[in-house]
């Protein structure tokens, strides 16, 4: 073993995803990085160690047994509406449980969990800006996201049960980026996206690189707690279409849900009907706590953030 390998490491789960690669780029010069992912890491820097495997497997513990791990960033969370609910739930909840368990048993000092502002859920009765204390209501209208809420709650519980570990739960708003394949980015890349006639809610976006910067910030010593992370503010949905030059199709909301349900079922659409709530109602968060405690400023402007989905 070389001397370099003896340095305490930072473990990144889900390293092969867009965010994982982005965060690796920010960290690998200064830190020893060990990545865990089921997928191979394409374009992996030479100094990054990679363990390809499933987080649910016992084998993952070896990473913690063989190396001194000082910090874990847990991004290995799947959100794929096409996956069976059982697999989805099992991967996210059991995977997170394993990671938290390792962190507790092997004396990890710092844990950063990437959750999402989606856990609050869009709702017509929402306040305009939800704080970290708002209840996590997303599953009340969209039951299949309850594993994502559970991941957040697991991390939350860990925060209280293991006060010696500095736990940070980040809930960023909709993450967008050129290569990101999540629902908001896919939706915005659409040239003729649906919109619901008469609805134009305010939305918040954040650039993928800003989320990576926030995670790097969360790794700093002394940071702990649950934080909403917002990007460069809020804009009406219609401003996004204008900026991207797309021409949305206005569908009356009473028929949009049944039609999308049928299209989704027969694989003609990639969004489940519950996602329509996001273009109908508010789900905005207040990022003031994070901003004031870390002097946080997103590096990308609103225009850059919006246009990033086009790969510019």
């Amino acid at each position: 073993m070389t001397e370099k390998n003896l340095r305490p490491a930072v473990v990144l789960t889900g390293i092969s995803g867009n965010l994982g690669r982005c965060l690796t780029k920010l960290l690998h010069k200064d830190e020893r990085i060990i990545g865990i992912d089921r997928r191979p890491f394409v374009g992996k820097p030479k100094d990054v160690e990679m363990v390809q495997g499933d987080l649910r497997k016992k084998k993952i513990e070896d990473v913690f047994r063989r190396n001194q791990v000082k910090a874990v960033v847990h991004m290995g969370i799947i959100h794929d509406p096409r996956m069976s609910a059982e697999d989805h739930h099992s991967f996210n909840v059991l995977g997170t449980t394993r990671v938290l368990d390792c962190a507790a048993r092997f004396g990890v000092k710092k844990l950063v969990v990437l959750s999402s502002a989606d856990v609050y859920g869009p709702n017509p009765e929402n306040s305009n800006f939800l704080t970290e204390e708002a209840p996590l209501m997303a599953a009340s209208r969209f039951p299949s996201v309850r594993d994502l809420i559970e991941v957040d709650m697991l991390a939350h519980g860990f925060f209280w049960r293991h006060p010696a570990v500095e736990t940070v739960v980040l809930r960023p708003v909709h993450i967008v980026g050129a290569t990101i394949k999540n629902a908001p980015s896919n939706y915005l890349r659409n040239k003729r996206p649906w919109k619901l006639a008469g609805f134009d809610p305010m939305v918040q976006l954040i650039h993928m690189e800003d989320v990576a910067r926030a995670m790097a910030e969360a790794l700093k010593e002394g940071r702990k707690g649950v934080y909403n992370v917002v990007g460069p503010g809020a804009v009406p949905l219609s401003a996004l279409f204008k900026e991207l030059g797309s021409s949305p199709l206005a569908i009356p909301h009473p028929i949009a849900r049944p039609v999308l349900r049928a299209l989704f079922k027969y694989r003609l659409a990639s969004f489940p009907p519950e996602e329509l709530d996001h273009i109908q109602f508010l789900c905005m968060v207040d990022g003031a706590r994070w901003a004031s405690e870390t002097q946080w400023h997103p590096a990308h402007s609103m225009r850059e953030t919006i246009r990033s989905v086009l790969g510019e």
Binding site: P124, N126, S127, F129, G233, P236, A239, R303
Partner: protein
């Protein structure tokens, strides 16, 4: 239509945080200026509003507490117009709208762009801390949709506004609107129809149309009231304070009804 000096004064009201011209709550100045034009026309030529005591408005955060009447929420629009047109400097105001408003197409967008937001305590607290003026109708739909026989009788007041005022140390300005009751007298409330449509009420008016009659409005702004006490006190304690506000509005209402010579002019 309103003169460039006026527009300049109004431009100072916008608080955008990015290049898209909409504030974080969804308020758009350009949109509002075109939207308020018909409201200002109604203020000047349809309801021919007379405003009294606008000088009572304190600077900075303030809770305007008003009676609510007339089936259609014209009273809110007229109070807003009074603050824009008669206030010196002009002030923008936000009303706390019903929680079902965001589920209505077009209405939801319109309300957001002209600065009206859902009446949750968190929203209200946030805006007061930004030194804004908030209009609340503590009677809610109980007042708006009451029947003709109960005109100018204040209905039961909610306590939420008092808790917010105590918590954020905000003065309360009682407001009385005279003239809205007669714009659409409600003879009966078809509750089953309302339930079917998901409305809070389905009033039957003599005209049968959702258009207010051109009654003359008189809006009275009372002197600001300052309350002290614990925001999380028992309801009974808060009720005492709310009664003071309610009595103040009722007095202004009675005086206003007595003073006017005619409903229409």
């Amino acid at each position: 239509m309103m003169g460039s000096a006026f527009e300049e004064k109004i431009a100072a009201l916008s608080r955008t945080e990015n290049e898209y011209g909409v504030d974080p709550f969804g308020f758009s100045l350009d949109y509002s200026l075109s939207a308020v034009a018909p409201i200002i026309w109604m203020y000047k030529h349809y309801h021919r509003v007379e405003t009294f005591g606008i000088r009572n408005l304190p600077k900075g955060r303030v809770l305007l507490v008003s009676n609510h009447s007339g089936q259609l929420p014209m009273d809110g629009a007229m109070i807003g117009a009074a603050m824009l047109l008669e206030g010196d400097p002009p002030r923008s105001m936000r009303a706390m709208v019903e929680k079902w408003m965001p589920s209505l197409p077009w209405v939801s967008t319109f309300m957001a762009r002209v600065g009206q937001i859902v009446g949750t305590p968190e929203n209200c607290r946030r805006l007061l801390e930004n030194e804004e003026a908030i209009l609340v109708f503590p009677e809610g739909t109980r007042g708006l949709n009451k029947l003709w026989a109960k005109r100018y009788q204040l209905q039961e007041f909610g306590l939420g506004f008092m808790r917010l005022a105590l918590e954020t140390n905000t003065p309360i300005v009682p407001v009385a609107v005279v003239g809205a009751e007669e714009q659409a007298p409600s003879i009966m409330d078809l509750k089953p129809v309302a339930r079917l449509l998901g409305f809070p009420a389905f009033p039957v008016t003599p005209t049968g149309l959702p258009i207010p009659l051109p009654t003359r409005y008189r809006i009275y702004f009372g002197a600001p009231l300052f309350f002290t006490g614990r925001a999380d006190d028992e309801d009974a304690e808060l009720e005492k304070k709310v009664k003071v506000v309610r009595a103040g509005i009722q007095t202004m209402l009675d005086a206003g009804v007595k003073a006017r010579k005619h409903v229409f002019w």
